[in-house]
């Protein structure tokens, strides 16, 4: 059919439809562009420009002070004047400039002409050269030569003219300059004056142009499409090709666009502070932020610019980006796409309303919420230690550090391997058990890709347990450890049946009774015999003496005991109740050979114990006859605290035991029928020799039935016990015979932080928490109710509205966060509940699974904040190390520090020793502080040496504090120093100004700089009223020493100094004091140094490698040389030059021996007062007062020579509490016949004699030296001497 010739549609209508659809398309395009332009980051960047403009304006405002304006006006008026003056000389100036111009043109034309002539000359010269080369005839040659010469002449003529013209030009220029010089100078002055203002104005003009054209251009650059061509609004991108991110299976370079919004994150001021200090201004008005100098996110600078983002920090943003630490989606440019993560659900609500936030579970790396931000640190900081202890940055990531400490304390790694290496490559923190057998150790040593674990099992050895305690105690203890010892770190495996139904719970308790009895049966039946030590025959231990020795000999450095409540050490267990559990001697209930052996020689019972040997050897009392056995006395004291305990245990029902045996036999290779047959017939189907595995305990050697029901019962118990031990992995913490090769039973954690959440068994946890989940006595019936209440309170205003106490605000919102995570099947929620109530994931699941398939994780005595710390650590275990250059690799010194800190914690060195002194911070009235003055006896060289060894620290913090005094406000500097409290305010004093603190300063410290500075030297006393005190930061370590000092003052000494001399010394600046090699030997085999102390350095269960590290550690911390250092005075060259020096100064006659004279000094009547010296024994003249100093023979190997020198100059500058006097004051010539009586030379001489002690004793031998004249008396305090 032919087409009709009329239109099917009405054309007018069609046009209208077309027009309408075009408009719709236009609208669509507009909507699209608008959508694009509405990107959040554009708005942020506009705000950033507004802020910057406001800041620039403010700077300009500040700059334009009245003084500045006056100066500017002055310069302007001078300029005006100069211009007027110039006007007057207008004609002359014009003439001059015209001449100058003409002359310039002349010079120019001459120069051009000269160029032409030169090139003509060059041509002629070349022609001449060609003629020579080609051997042309003479005529041609001479013609060419003549041509060259004539042209050269033309050049020379022109050159002359040019030179002359230049001279004229020069003269004219000088004249012209003279006329304009004053104006130029004024102009320069003005430029200098306005340079800063011009700079700021230019910056301002750049971001907020006042010029219409510039403003238009700037607006144009923000238009859609045009903004793609280097607009000022643009996505800022950090490209990090080496910090790869794993997406799916492939690793790709990281692109962080975070700075598109966080533009100021790395901006600092000239002085290093944040240029945009972070804060939480309540107003939305950006100008108010500028006014208050407080900026909210994303406008603020990073809160810690010393550590992050800035170019001078260890983590500059251009190198590290953002997401390597924060996680999140770096490529995202909107709030949601960046995958921000709220710190609690209440913030999530706020964000939802503000930014349309919702969690996106598809992105595998959501940003770390604030609470977990530290977890990513351990991606690169595998040691973790430097995150908690660092000389420059202090505790930069305390939470993850704490998590690591807790993990180590509770020995999580026993069950959950945290392997820090993958095929020899470090992937994260390495927390593994050390090899348990020689064979394993050898295997690892033979494989270069293997690194051995380093951590010991945290529990005590059970290898010889039958000598220590009873079956009842084992059962009672294992069931609920905290029932016996509330502070224990042993977790609870049994009686965790709150989540079970009634019938199930009864059944479980029955089974558990059998399991507990089984464990005890296995432990006792496999326990290996041990030779226990005994005190000497007939020794009568004294409880009273024991109590004193218990205090003095250092037990309290690790343990707590109820008799000394002020000691709070918890490195070892609280042993107040040890008398209840240990096996006492048969026939002598007042004594326990086991306890005696353990105290005296811990290694005998447990080869890898951390308990050191305290050298509790028998000694003779002061009367010289009574023998005292301290270990026996302490044993008696501990046992005298009470009667042996009685420990009720659950009865094992035989039928329940049978049921349990059946469960396990079924699990093995037996069916129900066979299992029951074995149980009832008391006969295992195989002979003992043919059985491997736990079933062996049921088999008999000949395969015959067990005749005796009681024996069969025991065998069944042993079977159940072995199964239970394997199931719960008891060997993860305890050394147990037969389980040396057993593997960890838990999930490996090295990549748990990335574990696929679909592999986590959440089971019915939601239902559980809806009905249960809170401990008994809680005000909430369920966790769900608790969280609902937290939400309501947060919605009602939270902390600000007084709904929460500050602690609650943290704990409840933290719980709400974890609960929310659990609801969304997140890892944090899982681990939180797993540590809170590990078995709760079995809620309503036990009905459908076998008894032996139930969850095994025990409940640890953790608080919720501890759980959060552990979660922070575990979530950081991602096994995704970045490129090696990003992984923190400490230098030798720092590495030694880190390893040393590890050992310091491992051996609890800080239990006895102060390693960092208390830091006192106070509001200082600088006017009233008096600098320490050198007295007449002090050598200037001594001060120099002191400041070289311990440079003075700046005590002013730069802050100020306002103190109210008698209604008057005083603005004082905040200052700090390191030292000990000497006196505390009298508690009865009520006048605040008289409530004074007194301190002993232990370091050289300066308050202020330059001549005004006040300087305190060690030993100085500082007193101020309590109201000025800001804080006393506790010493690191040494709590035992402090307790001991206080205790000794109650019965042994009346002076604090003497008590300190009897206690473990602070290891303050130990590195510059002792020789590293000596310390190494000392740590392995500690000898007796001091005679004043009541206890000795114990011998630790330490390997030579560990001792080496620890010895190096002290040197590393104090910046001293290690592992080798030169002791100059032992050097022959030194002795010769010193000798020559003294000879030329006339202090020594030619031919006299320098060392010989020095030896005389040492053997003179001074040192012998306190020390044995030169083969002469120290003699006690007054036993009440005289105290023997350390043996001087050790000095040469033990101490560093500079330190000895300073010590001889002025001991109290090193140890303020020492009794050692200043022996060679500058103002007294003690030995006038030696070195002409020069005290300075005496000090050096004695030092050199000490450093060559053995040699001199060998070469010269015992010497008696008595100086002429008066008998020498050392200045007070002469009695005693703590150090050499």
């Amino acid at each position: 059919m032919p087409a009709t010739d009329h239109f099917r549609w009405n054309q007018q209508k069609l046009h209208a439809v077309f027009a309408a659809s075009s408009v719709v398309l236009l609208l669509a395009v507009y909507a699209m562009l608008r959508q694009d332009q509405a990107d959040e980051w554009r708005g942020v960047q506009r705000n950033v420009f507004t802020i910057d403009a406001a800041i620039r304006q403010r700077e300009l405002q500040k700059l334009k002070s009245p003084e500045y304006i006056r100066q500017l006006e002055e310069v302007e008026s001078q300029l005006q004047q100069a211009a007027t003056d110039a006007d007057l000389q207008k004609q002359a100036k014009a003439d001059l400039f015209r001449k100058l111009e003409e002359q310039g043109r002349l010079v120019e034309s001459l120069e051009i002409d000269l160029k032409f002539r030169n090139s003509n000359r060059d041509e002629a010269r070349a022609n001449l050269d060609l003629a020579v080369r080609d051997g042309l005839n003479d005529i041609v040659m001479s013609a060419r030569k003549a041509e060259y010469e004539s042209r050269q002449q033309l050049c020379d003529d022109r050159q002359k003219e040019l030179d002359a013209a230049r001279v004229v030009l020069q003269t004219l220029s000088v004249e012209a300059k003279a006329i304009t010089v004053s104006v130029d100078e004024l102009e320069a002055g003005r430029t200098k004056l306005v340079a800063e203002s011009d700079r700021i104005t230019a910056l301002l003009e750049n971001i907020a142009p006042t010029d219409k054209v510039s403003a238009f251009k700037r607006a144009l650059m923000e238009m859609p499409i045009i903004d793609g061509f280097n607009s000022h609004l643009k996505v800022v991108q950090d490209w990090l090709p080496k910090l790869k991110i794993t997406l799916g299976m492939s690793k790709i370079a990281r692109f962080d666009r975070c700075r598109s919004c966080h533009q100021n994150i790395d901006k600092i001021t000239g002085s290093g502070g944040p240029a945009y200090p972070p804060g939480h201004p309540e107003t939305e008005d950006v100008l108010q932020w500028v006014k208050a100098n407080q900026y909210p996110q994303p406008y603020s600078t990073h809160p810690n610019t010393a550590l992050y983002c800035t170019a001078s920090s260890p983590h500059p943003v251009a190198t590290f980006g953002c997401t390597i630490c924060h996680d999140g989606q770096g490529s995202g440019t909107s709030f949601g796409n960046a995958e921000h993560t709220p710190n609690d659900p209440h913030i999530a609500e706020d964000w939802h309303h503000e930014y349309g936030f919702h969690p996106n579970h598809f992105w595998e790396y959501p940003m770390q919420p604030d609470r977990f931000i530290e977890s990513t640190c351990i991606k690169c900081h595998h040691n973790v230690t430097e995150l908690g202890i660092h000389p420059k940055f202090g505790a930069s990531a305390p939470k993850v550090y704490r998590g690591d400490q807790l993990l180590r304390k509770y020995g999580c790694y026993g069950c959950h391997e945290i392997h820090g290496y993958d095929a020899g490559v470090a992937i994260g923190p390495d927390r593994r058990l050390e090899p348990q057998t020689e064979a394993e150790l050898a295997k690892i040593a033979a494989d270069p890709t293997q690194v051995a674990g380093k951590l010991r099992k945290v529990g005590p050895s059970l290898r010889h347990i039958s000598s220590k305690t009873s079956s009842e105690f084992i059962q009672y203890w294992t069931e609920i450890p905290s029932r016996y010892r509330p502070s224990t770190k042993m977790p609870q495996f049994f009686s965790l049946s709150d989540h079970l139904g009634d019938a199930d719970r009864d059944q479980t308790l029955q089974f558990e009774a059998a399991e507990l009895a089984g464990i005890a049966e296995v432990l006792l039946s496999t326990s290996q015999p041990i030779d226990l030590l005994k005190p000497a025959e007939g020794y009568q231990p004294s409880v009273e003496r024991g109590q004193k020795l218990f205090l003095e000999r250092g037990c309290l450095a690790c343990h707590q005991h109820s008799t000394v409540p002020e000691s709070k050490q918890d490195f070892g267990p609280n042993i107040s109740d040890i008398h209840q559990k240990v096996t006492r001697n048969a026939g002598n209930a007042g004594f326990s050979d086991w306890l005696y052996t353990w105290i005296k020689e811990p290694e005998r019972y447990h080869k890898r114990t951390q308990m050191p040997n305290l050298y509790l050897d028998p000694y003779k009392d002061v009367d010289g006859t009574t023998v005292i056995d301290p270990a026996a006395d302490i044993t008696a004291f501990l046992l005298a605290q009470g009667e042996p305990g009685t420990f009720p245990v659950r009865e094992v029902a035989p039928e329940e035991l049978n049921k349990l045996v059946e469960v396990y036999l079924k699990k093995g290779r037996f069916g129900v029928v066979k299992a029951q047959e074995i149980i009832t017939s008391r006969q295992f189907p195989d002979k003992l020799a043919d059985v491997i595995g736990d079933e062996a305990v049921l088999a008999t050697a000949d395969g015959a039935p067990v005749a005796d029901e009681a024996a069969w019962h025991k065998m069944k118990l042993a079977y159940v016990g072995r199964k239970t031990i394997s199931r719960y992995g008891c060997y993860a913490c305890h050394d147990m015979p037969g389980y040396e090769d057993a593997r960890p039973i838990g999930v490996a954690l090295q990549d748990w932080g990335r574990k696929d959440t679909s592999k986590l068994g959440f089971e019915h946890i939601r239902e559980f928490l809806h009905h249960h989940g809170e401990p008994k006595g809680s005000k909430f019936s369920s966790t769900s109710e608790r969280i609902l209440s937290a939400h309501k309170k947060a919605a009602a205003g939270g902390l600000e509205a007084g709904q929460f106490s500050p602690e609650e605000a943290v704990s409840e919102m933290s719980a709400a966060f974890f609960y929310d995570s659990l609801e969304r099947h997140g890892r944090p929620g899982f681990i939180w509940q797993k540590l809170r109530a590990p078995r709760s994931y079995d809620y309503e699941k036990t009905e459908t699974k076998g008894y032996d398939e139930r969850l095994r994780m025990p409940k640890f005595p953790l608080k919720e904040d501890e759980i959060e710390a552990i979660a922070t650590f575990v979530l950081g275990l991602v096994a995704e190390p970045p490129a090696s250059e990003y992984v923190y690799t400490p230098d030798e010194r720092q590495k030694t520090r880190i390893e040393g800190e590890f050992l310091l914690a491992k051996y609890n060195c800080t239990g006895c020793h102060v390693v960092e002194l208390p830091k006192v911070t106070f509001a200082a009235d600088l006017g009233s502080i008096e600098s320490t003055q050198l007295d007449a006896g002090d050598h200037p060289a001594a001060l120099e040496l002191l400041l070289k060894m311990r440079p003075a620290r700046q005590g002013l913090t730069g802050e100020t504090k306002t103190i109210k005094l008698d209604e008057e406000k005083l603005k004082l500097h905040v200052a700090s120093f390191h030292g000990f409290v000497a006196t505390r305010p009298d508690p009865e004093e009520t006048d605040p100004e008289l409530r004074e603190y007194g301190f002993d300063v232990w370091e050289p410290v300066e308050f202020g700089t330059g001549d005004e500075a006040k300087r305190l030297l060690p030993g100085a006393k500082v007193n101020f009223p309590e109201s000025r005190l800001i804080s006393i930061q506790d010493a690191r370590g040494g709590q035992f020493a402090e307790v001991l000092v206080d205790k000794l003052l109650t019965y042994r000494y009346d002076q604090r100094n003497l008590a300190w001399q009897a206690s473990p010394p602070p290891l303050y600046q130990e590195g510059v004091k002792v020789q590293t090699s000596w310390l190494y030997e000392f740590l392995l085999e500690p000898g007796k140094i001091r005679y004043t102390t009541v206890l000795r350095m114990p011998k630790f269960n330490m390997s030579p490698a560990e001792a080496k590290t620890l010895a190096n550690y002290f040197a590393a911390v104090d910046g001293a040389e290690f592992p080798y250092e030169e002791q100059a005075p032992k050097d022959v060259d030194y002795i010769e030059s010193r000798s020559a020096q003294l000879t030329s100064a006339g202090h020594l006659d030619l031919g006299q021996s320098y060392l010989g004279h020095s030896w005389d000094l040492l053997n003179g009547p001074l040192c012998i007062k306190c020390h044995s010296v030169g083969a002469k024994k120290f003699k006690v003249s007054d036993p009440a007062k005289d105290i023997q100093g350390p043996n001087l023979v050790d000095v040469q190997n033990r101490l560093r020579s500079d330190w000895v020198k300073l010590w001889l100059y002025r001991p109290s500058w090193i140890t303020p509490y020492t009794s050692m006097p200043v022996n060679f004051p500058k103002n007294a010539a003690q030995f006038p016949d030696r070195f002409k009586g020069d005290p300075d030379a005496h000090v050096v001489g004695v030092r050199d004699a000490l450093m060559n002690y053995s040699r001199l004793l060998e070469e010269i031998g015992p010497t008696v030296y008595q100086p002429p004249g008066q008998p020498v008396t050392a200045p007070a305090p002469a009695a005693g001497g703590e150090e050499e």
Partner: protein, 440 residues
């Protein structure tokens, strides 16, 4: 606040407000049309009054949604309804039978439902059902997923296209019966290329572009986690247009469902012009003249293709389990799926157990009942059919064409047959030779 899966939220209510507002506008326009065209209900009340009432109810509904807070909001699908619906109507058997019954009803009731009034009423019912269902969190999750929105649209588009076909076909069938000229003859659709064709095409292009842009702005590309070869998403779904094929994988071995059947579908579609001997119905809509062809096509297209896409999109969840439309997609849901091969039925039925061994003879002996059945199905059935129920076809087509035709029909039938066998007898394979990767 604590409920991670809230049924009603403020934003849902606002969205539903808009939904009902649009329904109101639609019905208001319909009321206008009804007022002009429909007669009276009786007592002088125009039919339009009914639509006006409905429209006003919808307007109130809309306003209620806009103004009322989620707490205490009354209009929500009752839990009991959802549970009942999910329990009884949410299983693949019911779903498949429903699609067959629907197809039958569509054909049988074509006179009735092609009336605009009825169609509009049905549209209203379906929209209302959707609106009410959207108050359920899980329904919203799956229907509102930006990926799935086009599938929802497809439901309505397919319905509309089918409706157009039936309306035209019913009209033409009547015209043929009454001896009137066909609609296509009366309403000559031949038009000028310019402006009638190209101009309208241009307008369509513009509108479609605009729609796509608005769509792109409103529903962002639904990005999921980065692809990984070791971690597949659960459920792992084929592109929407292949979900029918994926559904077949439940019943067939991959080589059949993924290779043989698609090849036959493509080959079969290409063969249609050569098989079709019916000259009637060329160039115009009709049903009666091509009842067999249309029914066969609709059976293959609607229940076996579109319905399976819908099934795959909305009703197959984690682990490819079947989920009711109001059911939470719980990865922990387990369905008992223990199926048995025909050979096991046969040999165990005889009480003598499967022949043991791995030799060719043993395998063939073991599977001989299934092999016989398959051979019988494809070799014996066509001649029987040709001699009995399809005798007229056989006569008009000739041997070769008939064999191709009958085989294609049998291949199409094999899917529902296998589904039925699976549901009725938990039959796994008719022929199960895993040794050779040959399972039917």
């Amino acid at each position: 606040m604590l409920d991670a899966h809230p049924n009603l939220t403020a934003s849902v209510l606002t969205g539903l407000g808009w939904f009902y507002l649009l329904m109101f506008l639609l019905n208001a326009a319909w009321t206008l049309r009804s007022y002009r065209e429909d007669g009276e209900l009786g007592f002088g009340i125009p039919v339009a009054a009914f639509w006006a009432t409905l429209s006003s109810i919808l307007l109130m509904l809309s306003l209620y949604h806009f103004t009322y807070p989620p707490e205490g909001f009354l209009i929500e699908l009752p839990q009991s309804f959802k549970v009942t619906f999910d329990r009884y109507f949410s299983n693949p058997v019911f779903y498949f039978f429903l699609s067959i019954v629907g197809l039958w009803a569509m054909i049988a009731l074509r006179e009735w439902w092609t009336k605009p009034k009825v169609a509009f009423a049905l549209l209203n019912v379906s929209l209302l059902f959707m609106g009410l269902s959207l108050t359920d969190y899980d329904f919203r999750q799956i229907v509102g997923k930006p990926d799935n929105v086009p599938i929802v649209a497809m439901l309505f588009i397919v319905a509309f296209c089918t409706w157009i076909y039936f309306r035209r076909a019913v009209d033409n069938d009547r015209r043929i019966e009454e001896g009137r000229p066909l609609f296509e003859q009366e309403d000559n659709e031949k038009v000028l290329v310019w402006p009638d064709l190209v101009y309208t095409e241009l307008i369509c292009m513009v509108i479609l572009t605009a729609v796509l842009i608005f769509w792109g702005i409103a529903l962002k590309a639904p990005l999921e986690e980065p692809g990984s070869s070791v971690k597949t998403p659960n459920p792992s779904k084929a592109p929407w247009y292949f979900l029918g094929l994926q559904e077949m994988l439940v019943y067939f071995d991959p080589w059949l469902a993924g290779v043989v059947l698609p090849t036959i579908i493509l080959g079969g579609l290409m063969a249609i012009p050569y098989i079709d001997f019916n000259k009637a119905g060329n160039g115009y809509y009709c049903f009666k003249q091509r009842a067999f062809a249309v029914t066969t096509f609709l059976f293959g297209f609607l229940p076996l293709w579109v319905a399976l896409i819908v099934l795959g999109t909305f009703l197959r969840g984690p682990n490819w389990n079947f989920f009711g439309i109001y059911e939470y997609w719980d990865v922990h849901k387990v369905e008992a799926a223990n199926n048995v091969n025909l050979s096991e039925f046969f040999w165990n039925g005889l009480g003598q157990g499967l022949p043991k061994g791995s030799g060719i003879g043993t395998i063939l002996l073991r599977e001989f009942p299934g092999i016989l059945l398959i051979i019988g199905y494809f070799a014996v059935l066509p001649p029987i059919m040709g001699l009995t129920i399809l005798r007229t076809y056989f006569v008009r087509m000739g041997v070769f064409r008939f064999l191709v035709f009958s085989n294609l029909i049998l291949w199409m039938a094999i899917l529902p047959i296998k589904m039925l066998l699976r549901w009725a007898f938990a039959l796994k394979y008719i022929v199960g030779i895993p040794e050779w990767f040959f399972n039917i």
